[in-house]
């Protein structure tokens, strides 16, 4: 077997990061953490233009570079549109954080086809199509970072979230296989699995459930963002195909 060309150890200068669902919560924190790490950041949003603008402003005020881009990730045509806009503005996407996600809860016995399919379409199919679009330029650059924001619900039971759990378990499985496909091109693919994080998505969770967390507090979006920023960094070059649980010990 002939030796393969070495991959660059450090991030090329001309790339940018894309964070989906970055108008608020974990996505907004990830965008800011990546910007703090030196990335130019595409701040993707679905509907919340004001939220995305606030994320862009927070990054700009901190001395970083950011650009807001919209699109429905469940729409098969959106990946090209989002990447096209970003490539024109900030250069090739060399880090992709698939964070955009929705919930539509209900017990499986009562879960509609529409609720099941929509959650899968956004959380899993959307992440796949964006990743597929991202990999070509990453492979050619011999550098890339994909981080999928999964959930501990993809690893253990959470009654009422069969659709969300399926999407997040699917993300974890997809992470491992794509990681194996592109590892020798210097492209890493990892997931983070947040537990209870204090965001709008978890606002309805009863406070007494928080007592089950060994850390005795809910996580913050910044707790998750710090892990995402690490996985997107040069320091994590040899970490691929793994899922980093960020849950204060809940699933330990």
């Amino acid at each position: 077997m002939s030796p393969k060309p070495a991959t660059p150890a450090t991030r090329p200068d001309d790339g940018c990061a894309l964070v989906t669902g970055a108008s608020k919560g974990i996505g907004a924190a990830c965008a800011q953490a990546l910007a703090a790490g030196g990335w130019s950041v595409g701040v993707h949003y679905g509907n919340d233009a004001d939220g995305a603008q606030a994320t862009v402003e927070a990054i700009t005020e901190a001395g970083g570079r950011a650009f807001a881009v919209s699109g429905d990730v469940a729409d098969p045509d959106s990946a090209d549109a989002i990447f096209g806009a970003l490539e024109a503005e900030l250069g090739p996407v060399l880090a992709l954080v698939n964070n955009a996600g929705i919930t539509d809860d209900g017990l499986a016995m009562q879960l509609s086809d529409e609720a099941f399919d929509r959650v899968l379409a956004v959380n899993l199919s959307g992440a796949f199509r964006l990743t597929r679009r991202a990999l070509g330029p990453m492979v050619r650059k011999r550098y890339g970072r994909v981080v999928n924001v999964a959930s501990i619900v993809g690893l253990r039971a959470n009654a009422g979230q069969a659709n969300y759990a399926a999407s997040k378990a699917g993300l974890i499985g997809m992470t491992k296989t794509i990681a194996a496909e592109v590892a020798r091109r210097g492209v890493t693919v990892n997931a983070v699995a947040p537990g209870f994080i204090a965001t709008d998505m978890t606002a309805d969770i009863p406070a007494e459930q928080l007592g089950a967390i060994p850390a005795r507090r809910p996580g913050t979006p910044e707790d998750v963002a710090a892990c995402v920023a690490f996985l997107a960094s040069d320091a994590a070059a040899y970490v691929t195909g793994t899922t980093l649980t960020v849950d204060g010990g809940l699933s330990a």
Partner: protein, 80 residues
């Protein structure tokens, strides 16, 4: 978009194969890709390269029929 001649495609394909780790001296039109240790990921990247250079879109089904370096060149020229 480049003018698509067999010579131009041959150079693009050869350069790509070398970037994947193949020995340039071993590359001829008759060389089998397995001899060069070229695999499916390399061919997927090759598809990206010829799409960027010539606007030629290679499908998975096309790629599975490829055995030799010459097969790639003929396929790209025929689709350009």
């Amino acid at each position: 978009m480049s003018t698509v001649t067999t010579e131009a495609v041959q150079k693009t394909v050869t350069d790509a194969l070398v970037s994947f780790g193949a020995e340039e001296s071993e590359i001829t039109k008759d060389t089998e890709l397995t001899t060069l240790d070229i695999d499916s990921l390399d061919l997927a990247e090759m598809s990206q390269i010829v799409d960027d250079e010539y606007g030629v879109s290679l499908k998975s089904a096309d790629v599975t029929t490829i055995k030799t370096v010459g097969d790639i060149i003929e396929l790209v020229v025929s689709k350009a």
